[in-house]
């Protein structure tokens, strides 16, 4: 640490050098750490660039191109499989429908996420009511002359996004109900909600997915069968709802008692009180926690590969393990890097958005 005196006497030099002296080299131990850090950056950074760019294979028809000794990332593998990774076995002639669904989702979500854009109510209505119906018709087909595409043929990023968004849309209302139930004055409601939440939070998602895929068919009358994708969706939504309920409960507990009492004094019914007074404030308080739950849910969608669905990771894993045409030592690292990068971009932007909202809400609180 530089004491005040020496700082005073030190002649002014370039700001960068002073900064480095204060932040990197202010003691022997720190200088040592800096050297270690630089060494780490060199090893990891240079190693990565060497692998991903310098030694990388850019052209090739199959895995032999990437099997030469000293080869780096196998980019032709990604290029050849791109359609599969994004759409699964969705028929090529129909892929515009997936693209159109993405565009419609962006058209709704984009303005919804920018605070300044007006008309949030209409946008939410569009996203919650119109979009799901349109998206379902577009993706599944069978109406308006669109050929049916079975969900068994959906795959890749499409399945990841469908599972994540249906999981989010399904778990949100359920999570609110469970949170309200856990704080209900009615003992039976409280016990049922608490029991469900603690049960689900106590077990791994895999067992819930196993239950949804193996046991759910047993629960239903013998003549009813439900779609494999739908079973996974139910499992993911139920699992996520329990975690979301705990986040929302935190928000409910943070609302001052006076708010509840004021609503009672106004003669509002339970649902009016919750819907118009408590929940709007409580949910706003826990937006960061809710977004964090959604990030977890997005990452957790990858687990559906264990029950035999082909989400982005599932299809990458399948291409790596069982496509002998692309067999090479570099196929696996390249495939995982590609899938990881896509997951990372989605999750990281969600977390940045959450941080932005948090700052914005905090500044709103300060102004008041």
């Amino acid at each position: 640490m530089t004491d005040a005196a020496s700082r005073w006497e030190r002649p002014r030099r370039l700001p960068g050098i002073d900064w480095a002296r204060d932040n990197l080299l202010d003691s022997w131990s720190n200088a040592l750490l800096t050297v270690a850090g630089l060494w780490l950056i060199w090893i990891v950074g240079a190693g990565f660039i060497d692998w991903a760019l310098v030694r990388a294979v850019w052209e090739g028809e199959d895995g032999r191109a990437c099997s030469v000794p000293g080869a780096g990332a196998c980019w032709p593998f990604i290029k050849a499989k791109m359609g599969l990774f994004l759409y699964g076995r969705y028929p090529e002639a129909e892929r515009w429908r997936v693209g159109l669904t993405y565009a419609l989702a962006l058209a709704g979500l984009g303005p919804l996420m920018i605070p300044r854009v007006p008309g949030k109510l209409w946008l939410s209505l569009y996203m919650l009511v119109v979009f799901p119906i349109v998206a379902f018709v577009l993706l599944a087909g069978g109406l308006l002359g669109l050929p049916v595409v079975k969900t068994a043929n959906w795959g890749g990023l499409l399945v990841t996004l469908v599972v994540a968004s249906v999981g989010i849309a399904g778990s949100f209302p359920l999570g609110i109900l469970l949170a309200l139930g856990r704080r209900s004055a009615l003992p039976a409601v409280r016990w049922v909600s608490t029991g469900f939440i603690e049960l689900v939070r106590g077990v791994p998602l895999i067992t819930v997915l196993f239950m949804a895929s193996v046991m759910l068919p047993l629960f239903l009358p013998p003549d009813i069968t439900i779609d494999k994708l739908l079973r996974a969706l139910i499992g993911v939504a139920l699992f996520s709802a329990a975690y979301l309920a705990e986040v929302i409960r935190g928000g409910l507990q943070a609302i001052p008692k006076g708010q509840y009492e004021a609503a009672d004094a106004l003669g509002l019914s339970y649902w009016q009180k919750m819907g118009f007074v408590v929940l709007p404030q409580a949910l706003r308080l826990v937006i960061p926690g809710i977004v964090n739950s959604f990030i977890s849910l997005f990452k957790d969608t990858s687990l559906v590969l264990i029950i035999g669905l082909f989400d982005l990771l599932g299809i990458v894993q399948q291409s790596i393990q069982s496509d002998s045409k692309w067999f090479s030592p570099e196929t696996a690292p390249t495939g995982y890097f590609f899938a990881g990068a896509i997951f990372w971009v989605f999750c990281f932007s969600m977390s940045r958005y959450s941080a932005f909202l948090e700052r914005r809400l905090a500044s709103g609180e300060r102004r008041e």
Partner: protein
Amino acid sequence: MRGATRDAGVARRAGIDWLYDPYWRGVVFQLALVIVLLAIGYEIVANVAANLKKQNVASGFDFLGRTSGFDISQKLISYENTSSFGRAFWVGLLNTLLVAGIGIVLATVLGFVIGLGRLSPNWLIARLSLAYVEIVRNVPLLLQLLFWYFAALRSLPMPLDSHEIGAGAYINRRGLYLPAAVEGVARETLLVAALAGIALALCLLVIARRQRLEHGETFDAGRYGLAIVFLLPLAAYFWQGAPLVFDYPRLGRYNVEGGLVILPELAALLTGLVVYTAAFIAEIVRAGIVGVPRGQREAAAALGLSRGQALRLVVVPQAMRIIVPPLTNQYLNLTKNSSLAVAIGYPDLVSVFSGTVLNLSNQAVEVILITMAVYLALSLSTSLVMNALNARLAPAGR
């Protein structure tokens, strides 16, 4: 409140006014809920029974006694393919506990290092720690596990080109081969000595704490305790005339033979779990330390404590109060996440029991219920222990 609303209910007249009484509404609503849930439950049980009958599956837990007929690659207790399904359950459970136990210790260490790194005055170290957290947290754990197992460990040499890493240990794609202590009297003596050492060290810690609280005398029990834990077994070892015989792994015709094998599945699972969970623990540690008021550190500096002392004696004990509850959650998450072992073939509880045993015995309902019950019990007992620890850490008189 319930009574109040009843009294306040506008003078109850005969007729349908009870419909508007919150108390009766509550009763009716709850009754309806219970009836609906019971009906659903009955429907489920009836359907399961009908479906199982159709598939000719007998229900019940008798299958646990049947012969399993499959092998397990890693077992902490004796197990053969002639053992029962019930024995396979215990093998899987112990494997889960093994990976969770080691994983929790390692993830805590790495998490604390990176969490402290994020607060380092060294700009570069703080940035590197941040980069680690942001990269690791935002990639699914399953993807990381697959990467460690199918990509990273595949760059190890084939069994015949096994790499000797010194001290008689070998490493190759099939695992890490360490010298194993051979069964014998010495091993039991060593075990007893180690346990006695740990017990003595714990006693020392308790006595030192009492001394400090009652008489204000400080005594570095941690350092001496650590010395006892290591020196006692060592002394026992030499007292026995250094009799321990090691079984060294050696290159065989197809693979390394003998010694203690650490499976690549275990290594990949541990690496993945530790790397992933450490990122979350780091954030918890950082939040905990930032949560200690600045004045505490300044007061410590004013008392003449060095930076390390201030951190160890003043900041961390207070930060622990903020850290422990979310840390418990991370430990539970790690334990639950260890079930992803099924994707890379490590024989944990889910992989052995909900996977192999379920498929061989066809007892889906029983197997999944048992598995869920085990994880629930693990979660609840960990919560209990950590809540007790948290209660001890809570400041007195608050």
